[in-house]
Assembly symmetry: D2
Homo-oligomer: 354 residues x 4
């Protein structure tokens, strides 16, 4: 089916192209009676916003959300929440150069092949601008999930890796630097590195780690809709994501069962948490944590050779205003998608209890 909706009971459908009139969406299934903190929603949008610091794209967008429905006297009504973010800074001319040619490792080529033609301006629908709608929906999901704490942060940029377990970190520091890495020392190294990469007109990848605390026991619907399977899909649906692992992840491969098993305490908690808060696809009440790998942004401000729609070789060059490294701005997106998954499973879990 057309793939622009996410969730079953707490469902968001998004619309919008990078340089169209507006992006936005419909949130269907948000329970009624939630007093919405609109400032908190805008705050998450601002964390994702372009132009917020020296290490992100300098494109200027106010990214203010307009709500059309589903909220009355400050509270959710249980009816669909329709919203839009109007595109105000549409320098389409920046994109004339890609109208007829395909940028390497972008979606230009496959969109033309799949749909016959495309809105080429800024990548159209394939632009990460769409994720602003996810942040709006996720911010509302967070307010529904009162009590659950979701915090994402940058744990790696290129080779600069935060070699600490999240439990050794002070997550209250995440927003105290423009990289969104809770270790100020590593954060400044990452910042310098991103600036250097930017100067080269190049880009670099990174990893975001996300932690969800106070998640109640029982979320997740085996055998296919396991909690970590939906989290994985949610993360992989974010632009530029190449990998997902939770709990022990790929490192768990080299462990023996006798080491990897999480022994129980008498209260049902576990002494270790290699399981990452999920067993058999269902939350077990321990912290949920996972890593998300982002590739380097494909748009590089360097000349390159590519092909046009007719398959002729053409010389091209990255233009427009782009991110040298996407992870600082992707932190609120990872949180938003996590909130959407947890909100959906929370509603489903209520339903099935006899």
């Amino acid at each position: 089916m057309a793939g622009n909706s996410f969730g079953n009971l707490f469902k968001v459908s998004t619309f919008g192209e990078s340089h169209g009139k507006a992006i936005g969406g419909v949130i269907d299934g948000c329970p009624s009676g939630i007093t919405l903190d609109l400032a908190a929603i805008q705050k998450d949008l601002d964390r994702r916003k372009p132009g917020q610091s020296a290490i992100v794209t300098q494109r200027k967008e106010p990214d203010e959300v307009e709500f059309f429905s589903g909220i009355f006297e400050g509270k959710t009504t249980g009816t669909p929440i329709g919203f839009a973010i109007h595109n105000t800074n549409q320098k389409s001319k920046d994109y004339g150069h890609i109208k007829d040619s395909y940028r390497p490792s972008h979606a230009d080529y496959v969109y033309d092949q799949k749909y016959g033609f495309r809105d080429y301006r800024g990548g159209g629908r394939s632009s990460a601008r769409e994720t602003a709608s996810r942040v709006v929906a996720g911010a509302i999901a967070k307010q529904f999930l009162k009590g659950i704490e979701i915090q994402a942060f940058v744990s790696q940029v290129g080779n600069l890796k935060l070699n600490k377990d999240y439990r050794e970190l002070d997550l209250s520091q995440i927003e105290n630097n423009i990289v969104r890495c809770p270790d100020q020392v590593v954060a400044s190294q990452m910042e310098d590195y991103i600036k250097a990469i930017k100067k080269e007109g190049d880009t670099i990848g990174g990893v975001i780690t996300c932690v969800a605390k106070n998640v109640p026991i029982g979320l997740g619907e085996p055998v296919f809709d396991k909690l970590h399977a939906e989290l994985g899909k949610a993360m992989l649906s974010i632009n530029a994501v190449k990998g997902f692992e939770y709990g022990s992840g790929f490192d768990g491969v080299i462990m023996k069962g006798s080491e990897h098993n999480d022994q129980f305490n008498t209260d049902g908690t576990t002494k270790t948490n290699y399981s990452g808060g999920i067993q058999g696809g269902i939350s077990n009440g321990m912290d949920i944590y996972f890593n998300v790998a982002f590739k380097p942004v494909a748009t590089v401000i360097q000349g390159y050779e590519t092909i046009d729609r007719q398959g002729n070789k053409v010389q091209a060059q990255g233009k427009g205003r782009h991110d040298p490294c996407v992870v600082p701005r992707a932190v609120p997106i990872v949180e938003a998608m996590t909130a959407l998954v947890l909100a959906d499973f929370t509603l489903i879990n209520r339903a099935i209890k006899l």
Copy 2:
């Protein structure tokens, strides 16, 4: 929603517990007129079957599938294909010891918490036995996907890693050893290692790599149902999976955009394939490849301390017949889930073309 269905247009719903009467499922949406090769379906089941070699569980199950419907005169009718695999080797007594206690890193605890009680025999619904139904559905999907070649193999067991790109390997060798690793030298090292681990009464994790060739351009439905997002969900829904990466994956993080971008040839193919055959969530015609990380099996034949339903400490010991390493038997499961994802997107892609 109850999470026992996978796919939208090519949809499988499975049922069954490890030690119930039967497991099975319903395949809804399989196009009509496909002449089914039933032997090929059984062959995939046999590749997953317990007792097939010295390095897998010695539980004996014929795992023969019975088809109830949807097939007439050897061909699919376009109506639902109902099937069952009868459980013949139900040594429930092997599991009396877990009736009232929770095995570490198993789903026993969360199932009791979520559902109030559970069929504890062999893990009940949470047992990997369920995946036999997926193999049946996937084997049918493979026959629908004529032309597309899906091959999975073991690329890592514990620390033993196949340090080769899949393009340097002879994939025709996969089935020539019981580990299902295409490099015979590494395969025998892996085999020895698994046997040693088994002797210890312990278990070890591993990685499966999957390659899909000749996938047509255009499969995948952005923005949420990206091809790699559904593949990731499909893989993460398999028991014991902890991570998924495609194309450059986690290693792509340390690359620069100028290195990572896949330059086009004039025919639309690319010189490199860090994208893993998928751009913007849509197949681009290049090989699709990804890695799936499996944790060590939780059941170890060693004594351990755990808790019972009342939260009392109890001494327990792994019994029953278990796999020291799950990856050799998981290879056909990875292929099956890959086939289900590709079959579903193939149908959707047909629909949306004007």
Copy 3:
């Protein structure tokens, strides 16, 4: 999507052809901990069973259901309930005559056109035999819906109409005659009429009225999934159904708003119930009642002219064993589909409450 599943949270997927090995299904989403009364399930199957009386088809089928999963120690586990009803009385030879020709007003022609070929035996998938699986799922839904009373009965056969409001009838009499009409006098007239029609080798249509009492307020999900919209779809999905109306139905058309409005009592109940227990698509706590129109069975034991696959005229004659009037056996099917709709909305309604 392939249309063999019904419901969202309480979902049933059915499989099976009239003369295949078995029919059956998977119920996914049934809450755990329900102690199932298997005899009650069989009782509903028996009410639908062929050969139960002189006015229904004389085909003999035991219609015994075998459960494969989802039930442990007599209780539902919250995992999928897989089941099958084995076809024991497959006189395929009865159907050789329709292998190459199309019965008028049957699905033979459209199935060949849509799927390219068909299992012609007894109508294959288009046979009302499939509804036995619905009765199993519905009987389980009834047990989940403890407290809600669902009663269907025959209110019309041909011109013989029960000209009474259901509130004037003694619904405890429904099962006291083979027509399933609560008015014994009209029932015997209907019985005689059906016998006469049968003697003619002809068939006749009828109407079933269904009443659901003690339905809690709040079931139904506007704007598209209104309670009566799903009930309508559920009924129209039953073989031979041509129409659905609830509350005042088609007769409400000639009323004025001032007459039709249901005035409130101070407790929120209404003095009249033209609304049929549903306002704005949501149950209001009053009785839900609706009528379902069934056409005459298409198979008549008379000679007729029709065409074969090549479009040649051929002479044919109804064979096999068929119902002269379908409504007596359809009563439990109408109840089953009603239960499935109410069960699904009950689960959804739990989920959305803040």
Copy 4:
């Protein structure tokens, strides 16, 4: 699940309350490359618009649709089409009187019961204003369904019934009178009657008949998603609808099978069409026709007694601007929902063909 989406592959999700900022929706799955005739979309909106004639509500709304996305250079891109219709004429003060009391046979009471509170202005989400979004989506579906002709008309108002088969009518006359009845004589009688009812401050019900011509063979997905079952659900989801029948409908009940069966011509068409163009839930290429029953509008401009949120009796009176009879404006809504159903099944049918 939250019920504000309709369709599977051609899916529309709507949002908006009667007196909120805007109503609108997202159309997901519309194939790419359709050159949209925006004037035709507005024309359907105008046919539904309030204030268009003397026999409809005099509320003035321009009802102009703004498209946000999914259209580029005049053509659909295959990405979601987001749109809104801004509410300009929000006389909320008209509705102060219903803030704390419940209008009989409206959704006021059940919305408060289900959601805990409601946007009471003009009925909020339960207002038929929502259907304007359906008309937009349906108008686009019509353009996708090139070749299929969908025409709805008023066939009954109160007791005034059009006693003709649609084949005897000149459907080109439908838009030539404000009632939208193709028989000019009956139309003027209906017009006079509606005016008289309006003078009384009362309302009256009606019936809309819809005909779909040139529908290809094969649309519909048995066994649950039968074509007529989805059409029935679609119609019953429209405000004020109480009944649906297709083909012979409720009148088919009194016919014998030998009369009711549609005999084949050698080209596969049928001599009669009691089936209403659908057999076994699948279109057979003949005209599809059905009737939709609408109750009288609940808002009557007369004094009445009702209750408030505390259950106290209160005197109330209909205010605001309302329709004395809803069917003239509902004609384009019935067409829109028909188009949405046919578009969805058209896409599904493409997918399943081998």
